[in-house]
Symmetry: C2
Subunit: 210 residues, 2 copies
Amino acid sequence: MNHHADTSEPRPTRSDGRRSRIAILDAAAALATVDGLEGLSIGDLAVRTGMSKSGLYAHFKSKQDLQIATIDHAAAIFDAEVVRPGHARGEGLALLRGLAETFLDHLERRVFPGGCFFAAVGSEFDSRPGQVKERVFEFITTWMAELVAAAAQAQARGEITDAIDAEQVAWEVDALLLMAHAAFVMTADPAALERSRIGLVRLLDGLAVR
Amino acid sequence: MNHHADTSEPRPTRSDGRRSRIAILDAAAALATVDGLEGLSIGDLAVRTGMSKSGLYAHFKSKQDLQIATIDHAAAIFDAEVVRPGHARGEGLALLRGLAETFLDHLERRVFPGGCFFAAVGSEFDSRPGQVKERVFEFITTWMAELVAAAAQAQARGEITDAIDAEQVAWEVDALLLMAHAAFVMTADPAALERSRIGLVRLLDGLAVR
DNA sequence: GCACTATACGAACGATCGTGCTATCTTGTC
DNA sequence: GACAAGATAGCACGATCGTTCGTATAGTGC
């Protein structure tokens, strides 16, 4: 939520400004998963939010500034829609399963029209060094660390084997999630989600301490 | 190779034209993995190939025409760099392993500067219906079918269990490949490739008929 | 209620986008 | 070696890009 509280902005004080800013960022985050953060045009965004192009510039100094704010906004949405509900499912193995399930659910519920925001934008900026890529990478790293911590906790509780390291477990879980994203967005077929769900069960059952 | 032999083009007869066309498509395929097929601009491409913008238009009727030709060109490269070398590794399980290895190798050798062409472009157009998406999806489907066939062959030869269907095996293999692509392009760290290689060994060893 | 300032708009900018038209050079054919 | 056709360049077009400026409006703190 207050993920972007420490930016250089003097923090908007007027209520109408805050409402507009949120409306802009909601539209920008949704649009970015379809047209990309770069393909996103100020003109389109203005039309979509019922504002003028110059009106947008009251909130953002530049397009890059808008892109970074959009990333932070999407991070807050992802936290609220995936990470926190995932933690509500329990700890250790239940947490690891929970995070995977809430991730797949957020794809199915189409929280963003173009699937996972960070999978979409990460793929767009992976070869474009700069502040935008760094911010995206930062969040993806946080997400991976979340999975690793859950896997390590599951090992510490004796729920899965510690014959392989937690990073590897998280890697294989995330691979199935990324695959689900790619295929589901491309085909709109829930069977893609099901394939990855089956894979997750196979993977985690195979790691279970018997 | 002759993947685009049946397009409406009257097929260029002059040698200089053919050379130029190939030079353009080579540059376009490389650029598309970094800036995207949409982000690719005719002006940039002209500068990069030492031609004029209008000179490019002698070869392609429109930008979309160029995009589709670029996809077909990239498909030919992928075939030559990944699929055929993969088949040279053997049949059945050896083929499945071979395709995965040649794919990871083509990432490491940076055949395209932005990783796998179809992972990059597929992610860009997954939410943009049209001829371009259809062409990309077509190739990705072909690739998946290749993996499924290899898995089925491995089962028929009794090399891996047939307790799970071949589509599921191919799915989990491709998930690890996609994850390797995403992480390797983002970080340029070969450790990403190694993580997926370990995952592949774990996956296929787990399916081995003992 | 007043002053202050964040918010929003209209208009315009230089640059670049994809795309045609026309002329000039170059290649392959007879 | 002439001639037709293909290949390339120069130039200009309308549209759209991100951005800036000046100005009017409206919410907030005193």
